[in-house]
């Protein structure tokens, strides 16, 4: 076979190029695979952190629910250690029924008016 000068130039280029490409491909595969495994490890550690956080959250929620119990808050008017701030925060309110303001919602906006309407409604 006769070799020309140009074909020897091309083979000089192609051989290292495709060898390099092949090596690069193999290397990329290995790189990606190790990256995936590394990410899997990372995700696993995040999952463990998540489980620990959830565990702690449950304990805190339970503790909070215990602290917010009406018996603990002492929200009852006859209880000792009553604190209005605690009452409001805990959601247990015992308004004085002798001095009460009833506000009824009307659909149309109207000026303020005062009346002696009891506002009692029948079901």
């Amino acid at each position: 076979m006769m070799r020309t000068k140009s074909s020897s130039l091309l083979s000089f280029f192609y051989l290292p190029f495709f060898s390099g490409l092949l090596l690069f491909g193999l290397f990329s595969l290995v790189w990606l695979r190790s990256g995936i495994v590394q990410t899997t490890y990372y995700v696993r550690s995040l999952e463990e952190k998540k489980m620990d956080s959830l565990k702690e959250r449950k304990m805190l929620l339970a503790e909070r629910a215990k602290m917010m119990a009406i018996g603990k808050v002492g929200a009852h008017p006859a209880d000792d250690n009553q604190s209005e701030g605690k009452v409001a925060a805990a959601g247990y309110v015992f308004p004085d029924r002798t001095r009460v303001i009833h506000v009824t919602k009307n659909k149309a906006s109207e000026p303020y008016k005062a009346s002696l309407d009891t506002g009692a409604k029948k079901r």
Binding site: K55, L61, I70, F94, R97, T98, R99, Y112, T118
Partner: protein
Amino acid sequence: MKDAVYKKRSVILYTAIIFGFCAIFVRLSLLMVVEHKLLSDKAKSQQVKAEEIQVRRGGIYDRKGRELAVNTELESLYCDSRDVVISDDKIQKLSCALGMPQKAFREKIQPDKRFTWINRKLAPETITKVRAVLGSDTKVKDPEVKGFGFVPEAKRFYPKGILASHIIGAVGLDNQPLEGVELQYDKYLKTSGGKVYFSRDAGGNKLSSGVNMEAKGNDILLTIDEGLQYIVEKEIDTAMAKWKSVAAAAVMMDPFTGEILAMANRPAFDLNELGRANRGHVRNRAITDIYEPGSTFKIVVGAGGLEENVVNPGSTFDCGRGSIEIGGKVIHDAHRHGLLNFREVIQKSSNVGSIMIGLKLGRENIYKYAKLFGYGEKSGIDLPGEVSGWIRKPEKWSATSIGAIPIGQEVAVTPLQVLRAYAAIANGGYLVQPHIVNEIRTNEGQPVFKFSQKEKKRAVSEKTAALFRDILKTVTEEGGTATSAAVNGNQVAGKTGTAQLIDPRTKRYSKDRFISSFVGFVPADNPKFAMIVIVYEPKGAIYGGVVAGPVFKNIADQALSYMNVPRDDGLDKNVLLVSK
């Protein structure tokens, strides 16, 4: 000559190379084809691990979303007895940390088992101490200790302690339901688990599976309100202490919807300490205990008489003798009255007058209206253990029954049945379905179940209900038996009950053991709730109006304030009503 030698050597070399490649090929074929299954299974068993999904029960909440039952995550200590290595010093430290006697600890690690529980669901502080002793909180394992491990487990926690204990119920050590809503709605609260398969590396470290390792059951929203429940429990505690009674119960219900707003029994128990509870304290008296209702049963002859038009509010009855004889038995009034009209018979709770109404109504009608008001059958409340009570059919009545049943003797009812009957008067004549669960939702908030009232059964007509309601109002007014139950600012309608208990020795009515009760609803014309209060065997007083009436008043005062119910007499000069 040389060529022949070279040729011979190349043949040998090529043969060796080919032979080598053939050997490799054969070996690879053996590994990848013949032994493929065996080797891949072995690799899988090393690389792939199965783990159970942690299953958690759903939460239980009150009607405003406040937590009543939640899960906490604890750890349980186990040992593999065959692999246990532990020094005496460590045994001492470990048993001290666990709060166990050393002997008991040694017994646990003796059995030749792969798995033995040492202690279940340890408190976080105990876990820390145990881990410090075992050295499992450090990266370098303690060589003196081997064969112990921790398993995460969920523990049910009831943050409100004793509150609503009979409603919520409890679970056992393995989270199996035992009582109350936990038992009744177990199929909704629990969920199925399953297994998750994930890969491990050569060091045994788990890789991510991408699957949520926890599965939670549905959440349940009850109809009760924690605030109202607390008020009720506090007041019956006060009554128990005051009257030194054996037990007490109270149930508060919305008379229109049947929603149970509060249900309390005493004695009660702490749900977090079920193991220490007295078994007798665990039962829900409001639905499991029957008693003779006494005068509260007069609703049957009263409302029935009006409905059948055998009486009207103006009908008069001569109760001047203070007693009446029926079938050879004499029944007395607590106090002698003169001529009473129908209204006054109920207001003053005259036994003589009630029996006279019963005689006019007849045994068939008495039985009919007792059944219409729900007596003698279960209410169908969604709690376990409800009993139906009983009332005998007319053909089985004795000669004295017509004198006993109208005044609430010779019948057995539960407190909830009595409340339900009076709720029918409150709501215009309908018998509602009491229920404790309002809604069930998934963990993500999607509705699974919402209670809806079935077609309501009519007990009496609206007219009769309105008439009888007006009469019941007089019970808490001057001249009535329950002025102590009157609430400042709103009218109460109700009825007292004072029932004798049977003495087990003599099999006759006891002279000193009574059940005092009051059942009513407020505000009378537009009731926000109906409630029954029962005090079992009070000492020092027996009448419902004296013992149970004040409890009703105290609860109602606070409940009306809590529920923001305006007063009926809102025209006080100090009150300004502003509308926008």
